[in-house]
């Protein structure tokens, strides 16, 4: 049993070894790590090899070296863009042919005629398909570990969490790719349909996490702010203005009295009257604002359940699908703290237009971004990985059932 599994594993390595794409991706990873190692940070700004570029926002006074390499270089660019997107697409291109080639006429007969059960044969072949990504991520993580350790002066073994996480992320897609490859026997079809699924998952994730969750949090902040304004701030300010709006008693001296004292008293009386009038005007405006905000509060309260309903619907759909983005975010959650992400949160939310009324309410976009970030981080690892692995299990179950029962 071990002999057969090892043979399949060695064969998978030989297959990879014979593919140019495997070595090209590995070379690009090495170049990326080398390029990142050449970038540094000092008290004035960024350095690239011997050149220095002053930067008031990014220097060792605002960011530690370790945080620079982790939060600015490797996780957002290295893992979240290079490994999670570019290298994954290249990995899919490279591995999409594994199952169609395996079940092609003349090849499958050689495998099925051996003393190995079909289920074990299929699952082992599927597992060896993950070797491409495993080796790529392992090499990249080792490079990142060394650069963060040597250049960032922080030895971060948790960076190796990227190996199981990115392999898990890839395995969701590869399971689907294997199923489509098994059904259609076509490499192109399995690749295209898998990329379509990936895009669909991304759209559902964007709708749920970036749009609906953001809108829901914003609406909740608005309601809180409006409630505070309607129930506390405005009544208090109205009461203050109304207290100021009480006119003083008219001076006792006759209007014909032209003495300086009488004149001064009348001026004082008139000034106090004007102040009272202005206070009354302000109080009236505030009352008007109170009415408007009370109406806005009611509207916001009415709108919230609708938003929550849509969010729940998308969340339910997402629960059934593999969580590709969240799986990758687990590494960020593991390696970086929430404070490290403050800047990222700002950037993310800058694209959202503020409503005019929200400016008056002093709704801070950074607060909303942090609330969204916190809500995302509150989602358990088991929800993220567990439901994704259930999806993968179901897909693999269907594929295995087809493989076991099919006549080749």
């Amino acid at each position: 049993m071990i002999t057969q599994t090892l043979a399949l594993l060695v064969d998978a390595y030989r297959e990879l070894n014979a593919k140019r794409l495997f070595w090209i991706v590995l070379l690009l990873s090495a170049l990326f790590v080398g390029a990142m190692a050449s970038i540094g940070i000092n008290d004035k700004g960024i350095t690239i090899l011997q050149w220095s570029f002053e930067n008031e926002f990014m220097n060792t006074k605002t960011l530690t070296k370790a945080a620079f390499y982790k939060s600015v270089v490797f996780i957002p660019i290295g893992f979240n863009i290079w490994l999670s997107w570019a290298a994954t697409i290249l990995a899919l291109i490279s591995t999409a042919s594994i199952i169609p080639d395996f079940i092609s006429s003349g090849s499958i007969e050689l495998a099925l005629s051996r003393p190995i059960g079909r289920l074990r044969l299929f699952l082992t072949k599927y597992a060896t398909g993950l070797l491409f990504v495993t080796l790529q991520v392992a090499v990249f993580s080792l490079g990142a570990f060394l650069v963060i350790g040597i250049r960032g002066e922080s030895w971060e073994p948790r960076i190796f969490m990227s190996i199981p996480l990115i392999v898990a992320f890839f395995s969701y897609l590869f399971a689907f790719c294997a199923l489509v490859g098994l059904i259609t026997r076509s490499t192109i079809a399995s690749l295209l349909v898998t990329i379509l699924l990936w895009v669909a998952i991304f759209l559902v994730h964007t709708a749920e996490a970036s749009v609906l969750l953001g809108l829901k949090e914003r609406q909740q902040v608005r309601i809180e702010q409006l409630e505070k304004s309607v129930q506390v701030d405005l009544p208090k300010r109205i009461a203050e203005q109304e207290a100021k709006a009480v006119k003083p008693a008219e001076p006792a001296s006759a209007p014909s009295d032209s003495s300086p004292e009488a004149g001064k008293a009348r001026e004082e009386f008139e000034r106090a009257g004007r102040l009272a009038d202005r206070a009354q005007e302000r109080a009236d405006r505030m009352k008007q604002q109170l009415v408007e905000r009370t109406k806005k509060l009611e509207e916001a309260r009415e709108a919230l359940p609708k938003l929550e309903g849509w969010h729940k619907l998308f969340f339910a759909v997402k629960t059934l699908l593999p969580k590709t983005s969240e799986t990758l975010k687990l590494l960020e959650r593991e390696v970086t703290s929430i404070s490290d992400l403050q800047g990222l949160s700002n950037n993310r939310q800058q694209s959202v237009d503020l409503e005019e009324g929200d400016r008056e309410l002093n709704i801070d976009d950074r607060d909303i971004a942090l609330r969204v970030e916190n809500a995302m981080r509150e989602r358990s690892v088991w929800w993220v990985l567990g439901t994704s692995l259930v999806f993968e299990g179901v897909i693999l179950g269907i594929a295995s059932w087809i493989f076991v029962r099919r006549d080749f």
Partner: protein
């Protein structure tokens, strides 16, 4: 090779059926017996069900119904496959492997230990004449070289039964001769060889017994001698003589009607004693006999008889039968 205890047949099949969907009856009740240590040939026209039958034996296709055994285990039992070697038709080995790696990989898949695999691979490369090409990738092999490596991987697990599907397909005459020699070696080593081939002359040369499949059924099976016994003849070649006509038309020789084709007189018997009176008569008539030889139909003749409708004289539809009654 590890000899198997007991003397049961290598393959013993009863009523093997395969129906695709509800209409296409690829196999309609195959019963077949392959004895241990023999070279058994399976022949039939395209679509007769040969490959389907082989694939059922190799667990590549699941039968609709199958009773019988392969090396003592039930048909479909994976454990028995550890003692079986297989070369499929139109096989495709991974092109990134060398010939040696192909043999070792499929050896490992058959659970052969690493040390044994290495040793067997070296021996087999020598046996199939691929020693000098052992470490060249399959990608650069000719069709004949791939067939040789294919045969080597089929026996890397020291099998008791070797199933070869069109092993000489695309191989030149020299290569075919070499492969025939390998088959003889396999037989000499005590292995059972189950051969599926279109090349009837080759089957005739190496097979102890054959079965002819037509439309998903076994038309006939046995040794070539058994299958042709009723059709064996004696051919007597004579020098032209006017007296010959009188001998041929004689009715008192106890041979039944004789046929004449030019200088040949054909007697429809396989019994040497039965033609002695005819020889005596020819001599007494002063006719010179050049040769007397027994003949029998070739495998090709048998095959053509099997695939020809006796009523119409036309070739039978070679493919799987799709009629409702066909599966019965």
């Amino acid at each position: 090779m590890t000899p198997n205890s007991g003397d049961a047949a290598a393959i013993d099949l009863t009523d093997v059926r395969k129906t695709y969907g509800k209409k296409v009856h690829a196999l309609r009740g195959i019963s077949m017996n392959v004895r241990r240590g023999e070279v058994f040939g399976l022949l039939g026209p395209n679509g007769a069900g040969k490959s389907t039958l082989v694939k059922i034996l190799m667990t590549v296709i699941r039968p609709t119904r199958a009773h019988g055994t392969v090396l003592g285990g039930p048909v479909g039992d994976k454990r028995a496959l550890a003692r079986v070697g297989y070369l499929p038709e139109h096989h495709r080995f991974p092109e990134y492997l060398t010939g040696r790696q192909v043999i070792e990989f499929y050896g490992a898949m058959a659970n052969v230990k690493r040390r044994d695999r290495k040793r067997r691979a070296a021996e087999l490369l020598e046996l199939v004449g691929m020693k000098d090409w052992a470490d060249t990738r399959v990608k650069g092999y000719s069709k004949g070289m791939r067939q040789r490596i294919g045969i080597a991987q089929a026996v890397v697990n020291d099998p008791e039964l070797v199933v070869l599907d069109e092993p000489t397909d695309g191989v030149d005459p020299v290569g075919r001769k070499d492969i025939r020699a390998i088959l003889v070696r396999l037989k000499e080593q005590g292995r059972t060889v189950f051969l599926n081939s279109h090349l009837l002359s080759e089957l005739e040369m190496v097979c102890d017994r054959v079965a002819i499949l037509v439309q998903g059924r076994v038309h006939s099976q046995g040794t070539i001698d058994e299958l042709t016994r009723d059709q064996q003849k004696y051919v007597i070649e004579i020098e032209s003589s006017p007296a010959a006509e009188g001998v041929v038309t004689a009715t008192d020789l106890g041979l039944g009607p004789l046929a004449r084709q030019g200088d040949l007189i054909i007697a429809g018997t396989h019994d040497a004693r039965a033609i002695q009176p005819l020889i005596d008569r020819l001599r007494s008539a002063g006719i010179t006999i050049r040769s007397v030889r027994p003949t029998r139909p070739s495998l090709e003749d048998l095959f053509m008889q099997a695939v020809t409708d006796p009523n119409t004289g036309k070739a039978l539809n070679p493919g799987a039968d799709t009629s409702k009654e066909a599966g019965r």
